[in-house]
């Protein structure tokens, strides 16, 4: 019997990433035989735009690289510029930076948990988890004025202080997450249907994760003990207890499957709560910015010469920024690396041998901000017959699979 494979393209529009994706799958029956990735359909040339602007303007551009990591990119960018220009950040500002970054991690991971539930067909869990996410968004709005794109980061410090009166409100939100965490864990990690759909699905071995330079929860779920906050503590993380979370903490084993990636993300929510509590205890008083006058700061940056790197462990993995200043208004080089850039290669080993109905959850499992896996064309090479599968159809396939295998 000749082996007839179908080719299924998925994508290409994917606006929440810097590099939107097109997938081309070779399908035999229900199984994926070959995966081709083709990103770049919506490359916005942000680095190019940045190199026409001064470093303070770039902060706001960096904030908009990703709608969810809107604290991570400016965090790494400011660090890179500070390293290049030799600016010391006041300790209090370092703590405020960490608090904002960890609040962002809580909202990002809970958002992801909701998306994962939706991909499996548990829409009630999606609504419940996104309801839980509202609390941290409200807190971020209370602290910074915005639910996303906080505008808090500035080269040499932060723009907004956290006052004594605001601390009880932060503690209240942290208590809320401690209270509901048990429920979240029960829903995601003990539910037999979620276990059936995610255990041994989309496996990424430790070796593959290392070779493909995976980062963040994707790497940690495969057993790589890698977390910039732990390995090369920057900012206030140098004073705080941070340990990379691998799934064996919870289940005693590392499989590198979708279930393990859920474990890592959920445990990181608890870890973030603990980190913020440590921050509130240890936060020193003092200045929040090295240079208050922006004109003076710009002048200083204009005269600076040097290069620096900035790294931050974003919710999805390490964000890496490289900046070279050369005594000019604009930086000579600005290179930004988002975590999905490294993680996209890991889709290939994860997806091989999986079923079409598993594509949504496996693709979502690296948390690529899967906003618009918007259209899928099924092309029958033999008779040129075309069928278009929308995201809705694909989602329906996934829901049907969940119903089918639920006892």
């Amino acid at each position: 019997m000749s082996k007839e494979t179908y080719s299924i393209p998925i994508g290409p529009v994917h606006p929440s990433l810097k590099e939107p994706m097109t997938f081309n799958f070779e399908i035999y029956g229900e199984h994926i035989e070959k995966v081709n990735l083709a990103p770049g359909d919506n490359h916005r040339g942000i680095e190019f735009m940045g190199m026409q602007r001064n470093p303070i303007q770039i902060i706001y551009l960096a904030e908009r690289i990703c709608g969810i990591c809107s604290a991570s990119h400016p965090f790494a960018f400011c660090q890179a510029v500070e390293n290049a220009a030799g600016i010391e950040v006041p300790e209090r500002a370092q703590y405020i930076r960490v608090i904002i970054a960890e609040l962002e991690r809580i909202h990002s991971h809970i958002l992801w948990a909701g998306v994962a539930a939706h991909e499996l067909g548990f829409d009630s869990v999606l609504y419940l988890s996104w309801r839980a996410r509202e609390e941290v968004l409200d807190l971020l709005e209370y602290l910074t004025g915005n639910r996303i794109n906080y505008g808090v980061f500035m080269i040499g410090g932060v723009r907004r202080d956290i006052s004594e009166e605001q601390i009880p409100r932060i503690r209240k939100t942290l208590e809320y997450y401690k209270d509901i965490y048990g429920k979240i864990e029960d829903v995601f990690l003990n539910d037999p249907t979620i276990i059936l759909r995610t255990k041994n699905v989309g496996i990424l071995t430790k070796e593959d994760a290392l070779r493909l330079c995976a980062v963040g929860p994707t790497a940690r779920a495969s057993g790589i003990n890698k977390d910039v906050r732990q390995d090369q503590p920057y900012s206030a993380y140098a004073d705080l207890e941070v340990k990379a979370i691998t799934p064996d903490v919870f289940s005693g084993e590392v499989n590198g499957d979708v279930y393990d990636r859920i474990i890592v993300r959920l445990l990181e929510v608890v870890q973030s709560v603990q980190i913020i509590e440590q921050c509130l205890e240890k936060m020193p008083s003092g200045e929040i910015i090295a240079e208050k006058k922006l004109a003076k700061l710009l002048n200083q940056l204009k005269k600076a010469k040097g290069e620096g790197i900035g790294r931050h462990e974003a919710p999805r993995g390490e964000v890496f920024h490289y900046v070279k200043l050369a005594e000019a208004e604009t930086p000579e080089v600005w290179k930004a690396r988002a975590p999905t850039y490294n993680n996209l290669m890991t889709w290939v080993p994860m997806l091989l041998g999986q079923q079409i109905a598993d594509i949504p959850i496996v693709v979502a499992s690296i948390d690529p901000c899967i906003a618009c896996m918007d259209r899928v064309t099924i092309l029958n090479k033999n008779n040129d017959q075309r069928d278009v599968l929308t995201k809705k159809d694909l989602h329906e396939l996934s829901v049907q699979k969940t119903r089918r295998i639920t006892p």
Binding site: G40, N225, Q232, P233, A238, V333, N342
Partner: protein, 187 residues
């Protein structure tokens, strides 16, 4: 795992390449109230030594490649391979940047995808954006640029192969798409 000090790593490199290390620098940064520090190493090496350098790094730990950054410096293009090793242990990770200067007359360098497969995406980016030829990298379709993008234009370049408007400190250069006079007219 045995952790080697940054100074020792630089020495190892100098030993291995018989002094062909053009430049080396160790930066120490501090963070937090406790002023814990971490190290960043920058080594400038010859382009033909890159593969051996990555092999040498692999003997210490599996090198994690963050990205390759490129910089058009006029006569030369600088590529920096941003590696890190010794992750997994608190305060131990060291960032290592391997810098390579390629003359514009000969923009070829060996691929490292056989040693670090994760380098494929970033090598393809540098190929499209900077016009570097990675020897041994399969000729795959464009990853970041549209498939029908001109083969002679490299967006990250600042010379005549770059794109308009490309401002280097206020001066427009590059004449691929719009001529200089027309640029002035538009302005």
């Amino acid at each position: 795992m045995e952790y080697i000090k940054p100074e020792k790593i630089v020495e190892l490199f100098k030993e291995k390449f018989n002094g062909s290390i053009i430049n080396s620098r160790i930066e120490t940064k501090t963070a937090g109230l406790t002023k814990n520090n971490y190290n960043i190493i920058r080594l400038q090496i010859n382009s033909e030594d890159l593969k051996d350098a990555v092999k040498l790094l692999s003997t210490l730990d599996f090198p994690h490649l963050a990205i390759i950054s490129g910089n058009d410096m006029g006569e030369e293009i600088e590529l920096i391979y941003h590696f890190s090793i010794y992750y997994g242990e608190r305060f131990k990770e060291i960032s290592i940047g391997l810098s390579i200067h390629l003359s514009k007359k000969d923009l070829r360098i060996a691929t490292i995808t056989d040693l670090v497969p994760g380098a494929q995406v970033t090598e393809r980016e540098m190929k499209e954006m900077m016009g570097i030829t990675f020897e041994g990298l399969p000729d795959l379709p464009n990853l970041f640029l549209p498939q029908n993008f001109s083969k002679n234009i490299y967006p990250f370049r600042r010379d005549e192969k770059g794109i308009y408007p490309l401002s280097v400190n206020g001066n427009y250069v590059g004449n691929n798409i719009v001529k200089k006079e027309e640029v002035k007219k538009i302005e």
